[in-house]
Amino acid sequence: MAAVPGDFEAPGIGRRPGLLAWLLLAPLLLWLGVFVIVPTIIMIVFSFSGRDALGEIVYTPTLENYRRFITLDQMMPVFVAIGLAVLSGGVAVAISLTRWGWRMLGGSLGLLVPIASGLVVLGAVIAIDVVLMHRFASTFDFAKIASYDPVGAKATFIWDLNLHLLFLPLCSILGTSVMWSLIAPTGMEAHGTRKLIVACALSTAAGVFYAGINLVLLVHLRGVEYESMPLHLVALGPQMLRIFVVSVNYAAFATAICVVMGYPVAYFIGKAPDKWRNMLLMLVMIPFWTSFLVRTYAWVTILRNEGVLNSLLLNLGLITEPFNLYPSQTAVMIGLVYTYLPFMILPIYTSIERLDNALVEAAFDLGASPLRAFNGVILPLTKPGVVAGILLVFVPAVGMFAVNDVLGGRQEMLIGNVIERQFTAARDKPFGSALGMLLLVMFSITYYLMNRRRAGAPD
């Protein structure tokens, strides 16, 4: 299972291709051309087309589909947010370039730096919010925010609320950690404009991400109407942006849990004695080999009101009222983590297996604490695995609509559901294609950046 994108760098023999070699390449080129490139082009064309009442495509060029989620006159405040994020990214790069910054990153303090800088960025975003709120104070009802009862209608279970409370610190820590760890090690070897661009792009992403989280928090937790939102948060057209951000958050949160849950397991397997290792790996893999829908469905049996978990707890006398776990956002989160956990464990395991034990022992011999050894030696060396794992979990999780359908009771629409709906029930293929393009562009940029960074970075 070396299925790690961008991780296959076979040097190759590199002979010059003759006629036969070109003929042998033809099937690959044809396949990719016909079934990957052409469909994508069709999707692009669709996204710029209209449709008639019954939903058939009308080939008149229009930007209408994109306007439904991006309008230029609303973009200005977004640029402000991006600018701020770029600035903070630049500061991050600058710090990582100094000797002081590097030393801090290598030591056990290094774990604190992303947390601290995450909080700083977060603080800045909130500060801007407050300023903007005051500008729109007439429409922004502080009393309503203070008195809103989140454990009301929609958040049926207190955990759903806690999930969102957890979002904020976790996402900021995760987002900034990723940002820092991506910048820092390459930062000192060479400084080039490319790295600065990469860093700024990443911090841009982080900034938009924070803005999104803010939006979700404001709406979800405090019940604020869109009309009274700070402007920079409504930029992308409120509904679609919100759906998009919620989807990304679901995926990001699931990814974060997968890292936290999966890393220790991968480490344990990777460092287990040889005779155990294969068996343990097999144990992790077997659930992954059964249909994910089947496994998702099993959670319905477990989580429903009169389901396995509730009957168990009721019979044991631990609770008196059943938990309302199905359908809920918590259930969706469990389903996502359960589906994608093996995708996280495997690549991390691969890189831990390659990890040279002598290096770890050397760190301990030199008197490093476990935390410092982890942060200074183990984590940097296994980072490719973690990055690959994040890609393998995050990318499919954003587009996943089936888990949400089965476990979420269709309460919340995720971007996957919306796209699926455009191609089935809503009969709006152009708009669905435009949303698909949004996802595609986002992932292309992510992948390109990751790949470039790795191709450029020494082993």
Binding site: P5, R15, M282, P287, Y297, V300, L391
Partner: protein
Amino acid sequence: MRRVNWMLGIWGVVVLLFLYFPIVVLVTWSFNDMDYSTQWNQFTTRWYEAFWAKCALDMRDWFAAVGDRLLLWSAGWAAWMKMAGIASWLTNYAQSSPEPGWIARQFIKLLNVAGAESASDVLKTVPPQVRGQISRLVEGLTNSLFVGVISTFFAVLLGTVSAWITFKYKYPLHNALRTLVAVPMIVPEIIMGVSLLSFITLAGTSLGYIGIPLERGYLAIVIAHVTFSFPFVMVTIQARLAGIDPALEEAAMDLGATPSVAFWKVIVPYLMPAIISGVLMAFTLSLDDFIVTYFVTDGGSETLPIRIYGAVKQRPAMLHVVSTVMIGITLLMVLMSEIIKRFNR
């Protein structure tokens, strides 16, 4: 350090429990004598009996329809492997016996013993809706296996050959090609699904005029599955190729082998472990896929995940049974691959 290891071990056990709890529930609940509800009632095997009855009936019909053509095909296979003597005998036999033929009759007899004879009666013991569900799920299962085998074959063929030639030759635009191959791996499935759907509705009708009817259905599903699984095969094989000695092929050719012989006798055996894991991976990906298939399937060709999705909100009993059977098939595959691995060693 030891304490850290202990904690890691406990955490590992917790995570494994998390991974296996749902599966245990599924397997246990497949013996639950309850039709609609998921509350535990009492132990029963009647769902399995009904499931097997349907399978046996289907298989019997299949054997009756296929007759001894089964033999004919194995004969063709043998002929291909140049074992001409037995092959011609087999071919003659299969052609001479009209269907269902002796061999097929033996199979039918066997199945009758195993339950097909009384199958209709067994099926009548479950509610009619459950009967309908069973036949839909069984059909889905066969579709899944069928699509899985075909798409795995093509994915492995395409992946292996492409990995080898891109390793051996340096084509212009090497990097662009590599990125392109990675696209199906990194693009979210839903995008691949909707773009293939658009492609099929648009190109399908126009290709129909030149005699290539591309519609939603088996062909479309196989194409989709090959598209998203061959890059994974390719990556696995490239990983193995990274460890190869480039002189290996040269040495074989120096000893007088032609390039094709060198490929089949030297390179392929060396790549065999990677090819086997590629086969497993492609097959699993194909069996597991829901999202891409969802967009390109039509009624008759729906695979098991689609059928499960359609049935998820209905009666749970049969779902548990089919899931358990799926898990069984998986375990069997894992065991087989382990045995093959041992054997190869």
